[in-house]
């Protein structure tokens, strides 16, 4: 009987160490934070809105996640196949499910650290006025959940491909599909070609749609379920894809 928890813990610690052993995670977080700050203050002109509301800040989260998070998760499995350690892993007395969850959680931890380091933004808005802090907390939690969904996409795809670069590019493309499904430009095109009903259906699968209610300070149970369901789907795909490779290797 292989132990799922052991595998989870072992791979979580191993991957987390790997992230911080090289400058990758630091550089990644630093650039992410600078871009987020730049977009909030320069593109959305946060200060000129005159409103103590983090909406111009949260607006950019899905788009930046779309670009950055596949970079975090691209190496999760591609690395193993490139280094040829997949076989070694498979021979260990641990389940693939535990491994997959552990790897995802490690990447998620790095994303959460990045999110935590945006605290100056929260302090700024409290310094400037009296924002609705419970609504902000909700939006942060939802953003963290959404980050998990973006990472899960990248993790699943990296288990299919042995090239990191390729898995990054395809990860961004898939993430873009799930982000842009709720984007007015794309939605308008879908509705125009296939009817408004199809457009509304497509919007139900968009991260933007589910994040948007949280931005207004409303916790929708269906949005939480959507993100959890999406992470579960990607993990399941991840597991069967990895086991398939193992099967093929034998």
């Amino acid at each position: 009987m292989k132990d799922t928890m052991t595998g989870l813990r072992a791979s979580y610690i191993r991957e987390l160490r790997a992230y911080f052993a090289t400058p990758l995670a630091y550089v990644f977080i630093a650039i992410f934070l600078m871009l987020l700050g730049f977009f909030t203050w320069e593109a959305s002109r946060f200060f000129d809105t005159g409103v103590a509301d983090l909406q111009p800040f949260f607006y950019w989260h899905p788009w930046l996640f779309m670009i950055f998070l596949p970079a975090l998760s691209m190496r999760l499995w591609s690395d193993e196949s490139a280094a040829g350690t997949t076989e070694l892993l498979m021979s260990l007395p641990i389940t693939i499910t535990g491994l997959a969850i552990g790897k995802l959680l490690a990447a998620w931890t790095v994303a959460l650290l990045a999110l935590a380091l945006t605290t100056p933004m929260w302090m700024t808005v409290n310094y400037l006025g009296a924002p609705d802090n419970s609504a902000i907390l909700l939006t942060y939690l939802m953003s963290a959940l959404m980050a998990g969904a973006y990472l899960a996409i990248g993790a699943a795809i990296s288990s299919l491909l042995s090239s990191q670069v390729l898995s990054y590019v395809i990860g961004v493309v898939v993430a873009f599909v799930f982000t842009a499904a709720g984007w007015p430009m794309v939605l308008g095109a879908i509705s125009g070609a296939l009817g408004a009903g199809v457009g509304d259906l497509a919007a139900q699968f968009s991260f933007l749609t589910h994040f948007e209610t949280a931005e207004r300070g409303v916790l929708e149970v269906r949005s939480v379920l959507f993100f959890i369901g999406f992470v579960a789907l990607c993990l399941a795909l991840n597991v069967i894809w990895v086991s398939q490779r193992r099967g093929a290797m034998r």
Partner: protein, 629 residues
């Protein structure tokens, strides 16, 4: 199954499960939500719930929305979802008495005809198909009310608008508004004549005129609207006093200098009444109308003024006030949704006693350095220059509109006064008869009073806020008064909806800095602006002399004396200097705020990156110290 086909099949199966589960679960959980906003903006208020639960007759709501067009506008799409879900919440609360349907008016469809016939606005979308986005409400006797366009920026009042629409449909007999006014434009039933506001009010309310010499008030009156009322005798005052104690809903527009008052000083049918005030009520309520009118440079209304030679120029006239939303209360439903100015013509100021027994809420106020102008001057057509010559700034904002709320006591502690019996025997008999049937005197409120007082009667005049050519309003005078009538005549359900806090949260620190800078610079700025206006007026005067007399000599300044010429030169340098000083004041004004922005921007763009860099350095240093293990 071969291992080769297992992968695609399993993948497809998982995707199908996810898609099916999403499509099934998403609609099922539509209402499952928790409202994290502090003011519970997305939860139905008690007022709405009680209005919906007490519906007497079925009401049909039709949500009109061009989905395909709306989807191209993110704000509209998000708002449409919100409206749709709010309507569902309404239906859940009201049960069978509220029917909701949605139509999608594609071009040339029956749905489009229905929307247009009901008065839903077709919004132009850059030459594409029009966007219809509104709500039609109908009741069983085919009364119809519509929200012609659901503007996303008015989300704050969506619930109020919807609940009001339903409440109106549920109670088809509109409330009665009694009007007591000496102004010509306020006479009549509002059907095609009179001020725009009167005509607008007549669409939503029963209008009953009260004669200037009244000896009884209309029995079924719900709201009393007094606009520049005549001088009242004791009996009339007592009648109003008793109405306020029993029904307690009144809107009162008084004016120390009513420019629109009928009659003239010379040989008119009667003496022109330029002042109206609160009379006996002022002492009881603790609110008085100033003797003098106020002018305000900060909110001065831009008007076309003659500058000689038949030319006109746009100048800001301090005696006409255009109070922007920033000078209005954002907490009261009456003013919260106004987005344009409310314009006044030589208003007075309201003085509120410390000891007023009411909750007094100032809805509109002047700028910070208004000036008193004698009423007999203000009522004339004073020019900008003449007004500025009389301008002596006084400290502090003056209230222009206040709302009183609370329990009243009678202004007649000794009971009803005897009616003034006219000489005409027939009239005298009528007066006696109505005095007999008058309801007994009561000394205190039966219900809490809601009274709105404005210190200007001219604001109802179309000239101040309606573009006469297009008949559209360019300021919110009419909207303010209609809001007030709605709030006053609505049942308690609607009134409680007013308490919804605005979801707008200003950067209070920045505003405080701006206010402080304003306090520092405003005095000097106003002074400089006055000096500039004076210098320009004098300059014009001199140039006019030159241009009329010296025109043919080709030298505009030829006929000026040496003294006048040197004055002209001085004036010109003075004007240039004053202007540059004004500009530098404006720069100083923003300097600190700009510095704050710069700092915050730096911290937020680079702060996190520096922090993570430090963490990285620390980890690296620890690792080196410990050494490779």
């Amino acid at each position: 199954m071969s291992p080769r086909s297992f992968l695609p099949v399993a993948t497809a199966l998982l995707l199908a499960i996810f898609i099916a589960a999403t499509l099934i679960i998403q609609p099922l959980l539509r209402g499952a939500r928790a409202d994290f906003t502090e003011a519970s903006l997305y939860t139905l208020s008690d007022g709405t719930v009680s209005a919906l639960q007490n519906l007497q007759e079925p009401v049909d709501l039709t949500f009109v929305y061009t989905r395909r067009v709306g989807q191209e506008y993110p704000a509209v799409r998000a708002y449409a979802t919100r409206v749709r879900e709010l309507l569902q919440a309404y239906r859940a609360e009201a049960g069978a008495n509220l029917r909701v349907r949605e139509i999608d008016p594609l071009p040339f469809s029956e749905a489009e005809d229905e929307a247009v016939a009901a008065g839903i606005v077709a919004v132009d979308t850059n030459g594409e198909d029009p966007l219809y986005f509104g709500i039609i409400g109908r009741n069983t006797i085919d009364d119809q009310r519509v929200i012609p366009f659901l503007a996303p920026e008015q989300e704050e009042t969506l619930e109020y608008d919807l609940t009001r629409l339903i409440a109106r449909l549920d109670r088809p007999e509109p409330p009665t508004v009694g009007i007591l006014s000496t102004l010509q434009g306020m006479q009549g039933d509002g059907q095609g004549a009179g001020y725009s506001f009167l005509q607008e009010a007549a669409k939503s309310f029963n209008i009953t005129q009260i004669d200037e010499d009244f000896y009884a008030l209309p029995e079924d009156m719900d709201v009393l609207l007094m606009v520049h009322p005549p001088d009242l005798d004791d009996w009339q005052t007592w009648l109003i006093d008793q109405f306020l104690l029993r029904k307690g809903r009144a809107i009162i527009l008084v004016d120390p200098a009513a420019k629109t008052a009928p009659g003239s000083e010379f040989g008119g049918l009667r003496e022109r009444q330029i002042r109206s005030d609160l009379g006996r009520f002022g002492d009881v309520w603790g609110v008085h109308l100033s003797e003098e009118a106020v002018a305000d440079t900060e909110s001065a209304l831009p008007i076309q003024a003659p500058v000689g030679e038949g030319r006109t120029n746009v100048v800001r006239h301090p005696l006409y006030l255009a109070a922007p939303p920033a000078m209005m209360s954002r907490d009261s439903l009456i003013t919260a949704e106004l987005s344009r100015t409310v314009n006044f013509g030589a208003p007075g100021a309201l003085e509120i006693d410390e000891a007023s027994p009411f909750d007094v809420e100032v809805l509109i106020h002047t700028g910070e350095a208004p000036s008193w102008i004698p009423a007999e001057e203000a009522v004339k057509d004073l020019s900008v220059q003449d007004t500025l010559a009389l301008y002596e700034p006084v400290e502090g904002e003056k209230p222009l509109a206040v709302r009183l709320h609370g329990a009243l006591v009678s202004a007649f502690p000794d009971g009803a006064p005897p009616p003034a019996v006219p000489d005409d025997p027939v009239l005298a008999e009528l007066v006696r008869a109505s005095a007999q049937t008058a309801q007994p005197h009561i000394a205190s409120s039966e219900r809490d009073a809601e009274i709105l007082i404005l210190s200007d009667a001219d604001m109802v005049d179309d000239g101040l806020y309606v573009d006469l050519e297009s008949a559209t309003a360019f300021a919110d005078n009419g909207a303010l008064l209609m809001n007030a009538l709605d709030v006053m005549s609505g049942d308690a359900n609607l009134l409680s909806l007013r308490a919804r806090a605005s979801s707008r949260r200003p950067m209070s620190r920045v505003e405080a800095m701006r206010d402080e800078a304003q306090a520092r610079f405003f005095g000097e700025q106003a002074q400089l602006e006055n000096r500039l206006a004076e210098a320009q007026a004098r300059l014009q005067e001199l140039q006019q002399i030159g241009s009329t007399d010296g025109f043919f000599e080709g030298d505009l300044e030829a006929t000026l004396t040496d003294e006048e010429r040197s004055e002209l030169a001085e004036l010109r340098t003075d004007i240039v200097e004053t202007r540059s000083r004004l500009r530098s004041i404006e720069r100083d004004f923003r300097r600190e705020i700009d510095a704050l922005e710069g700092w915050l921007k730096f911290i937020n763009i680079f702060g996190g990156a520096i922090l993570i860099g430090l963490i990285g350095l620390f980890v690296w240093w620890r690792r080196r110290k410990v050494g490779p293990s």
